[in-house]
């Protein structure tokens, strides 16, 4: 502290921290005060935002509460629509599998050769359903897994010779029959139709003393396909409607 002039030096050596020193004892409280004020401002901003968000939340909650009853109704209607659509799908599967035989039987009488006498026509019943899982354990399934039921028709009868039967089989290849009966003549095909089960002499003698021939032929019928018919494109449906109107 040697000085040529009078100098009132209030700073101690330990307080000389920068070129323009402000006393630490002043700086520290000011800085902490600023930090405190910053916290307050921060809190105030957050609180304002919270208030705004809470107001929005409350207004949205009121809005939603007002619409909840209508929405519950709509949701119930949506569930109902889904259920009805699923029911309709099953009903349409059933109706898609409906095959008509009446017309074919009526036409059969017309094409029957004179020398053929049918003794039996048989479209056999389907085998009983087994809905139990393999092994027979567990809950039975709600329905069969397959969607196709095979159908067949057996024609049994008598004749005097083979030509009327051949003529009958030829007649059954006409379109009015093939929409019900399936004709696959290729011998390499896995499921040939018609299949001749037997063609033999009758054991009993006919009135004229001659022996009659017995035949047993099986035709495969169009299967019953339990599948929903594909939806018709709107354009096609409109065209069809126009066509119907013209008719």
């Amino acid at each position: 502290m040697k000085s040529s002039r009078l100098h009132l030096n209030l700073l101690r050596d330990s307080e000389k921290l920068s070129s323009s020193p402000v006393r630490l004892r002043v700086m520290l409280p000011v800085m902490s005060l600023l930090a405190c004020a910053g916290c307050l401002v921060w809190w105030a901003m957050l609180a304002t935002q919270l208030l705004l968000v809470k107001t929005q939340v409350s207004s949205l909650q009121d809005d939603i509460a007002g619409k909840e009853k209508d929405h519950a109704n709509i949701l119930a209607q949506m569930t109902e629509a889904r259920e009805k659509q699923a029911q309709l799908d099953q009903l349409e599967m059933y109706s898609a599998a409906r095959n008509l035989y009446g017309g074919m039987f009526a036409r059969l009488a017309e094409v029957m050769p004179i020398r053929v006498q049918l003794t039996k026509i048989d479209i056999p019943d389907q085998p009983p359903q087994n809905l139990l899982p393999p092994g027979g354990k567990g809950k039975p399934a709600w329905g069969p897994t397959g969607t196709v039921e095979r159908m067949s028709m057996r024609l049994m009868g008598r004749t005097t010779k083979e030509t009327p039967v051949l003529s009958l089989m030829e007649s059954l290849e006409a379109p009015e029959f093939t929409n019900v009966l399936v004709v696959v003549k290729d011998p390499r095909a896995p499921d040939v139709s018609p299949k001749v089960h037997s063609f033999r002499q009758d054991g009993t003698t006919a009135e004229e003393g001659s022996r009659l021939l017995l035949f047993d032929i099986e035709y495969r019928c169009r299967p019953r396909v339990f599948e929903k018919a594909p939806a018709q494109p709107a354009g096609n449906a409109a065209d069809k409607a126009k066509g119907d109107k013209k008719k």
């Binding site: 004892r25 409280p29 902490s32 930090a35 405190c36 916290c39 307050l40 921060w42 809190w43 957050l46 919270l50 968000v53 939340v57 949205l60 939603i64 619409k67 209508d70 929405h71 209607q77 949506m78 109902e80 629509a81 889904r82 259920e83 009805k84 659509q85 699923a86 029911q87 309709l88 799908d89 099953q90 009903l91 599967m93 059933y94 109706s95 599998a97 409906r98 095959n99 035989y101 009446g102 039987f105 009488a109 006498q117 049918l118 039996k120 026509i121 048989d122 479209i123 056999p124 019943d125 009983p128 359903q129 399934a141 709600w142 329905g143 069969p144 897994t145 969607t147 009868g157 339990f226």
Partner: protein
């Protein structure tokens, strides 16, 4: 503590004031800023959830008219099936079928017409699975008549009852060609099982 005690009284005061203010700042941060920030985050999340919920509600409400139309269409499509569905008459399915088919049998000229029930057959199930399933109730019709009469009966049933399917057909020729024997099995739609689990256990 020695160094604090060595400080000038002003510096000491400053130090303690700083400490006190810093403590207040820390308390403010811990008990005001931080909880408020967390609350704000939660509120924002709630707001987002509510916004998306409202969007869904508004979208569903806009669809309301479409759903009503769709329901009407579905009702109209299902209604013919429901009308055609076989219901038991005094607990007898065969008697209900008789009440519907006797007229056609009489018109066709069939004789000795007998009706009997066969075990119900399940229908293949669609996806998604409906709560209410439908099934098929086969009714066996045994009758006598000429080939033409039997075929006429079958054609009438096919024409007048569009939801009845022929499941099987058997015609046995008799000595008298006007008196053939026939067994025809017709399938009728009936209400089947419910896929909703029964609270008592088992299937409904």
């Amino acid at each position: 503590m020695k160094s604090i005690s060595q400080m000038a009284p002003n510096a000491q005061r400053s130090f303690f004031v700083t400490l006190a203010i810093a403590a207040v700042a820390v308390v403010l941060y811990m008990f005001a800023v931080q909880p408020c920030g967390e609350s704000l985050e939660r509120a924002k999340q709630t707001l987002e959830q509510l916004k998306s919920k409202k969007q869904v509600i508004d979208r569903d409400l806009r669809e309301s008219a479409k759903i009503k139309v769709r329901l009407e269409e579905l009702d109209a499509a299902i209604s013919p099936y429901q009308e055609a569905m076989l219901t038991p008459l005094l607990e007898s399915w065969a008697m209900r079928a008789k009440s519907k088919l006797d007229l056609f049998a009489a018109e066709a000229g069939l004789l000795n017409v007998d009706y009997s029930e066969l075990p119900v057959r399940a229908l293949p199930v669609p996806k998604p699975l409906p709560k209410q399933l439908f099934a098929r109730r086969p009714i066996k019709v045994s009758c006598r008549g000429s080939y033409a009469e039997i075929v006429s009966f079958l054609m009438r049933v096919e024409k007048e009852l569009p939801y009845v399917s022929m499941q099987s057909f058997r015609l046995d020729a008799q000595q008298d060609p006007e008196m053939q024997r026939s067994d025809i099995v017709f399938e009728w739609l009936v209400k089947g099982e419910s896929t909703v689990p029964d609270p008592k256990g088992g299937r409904k």
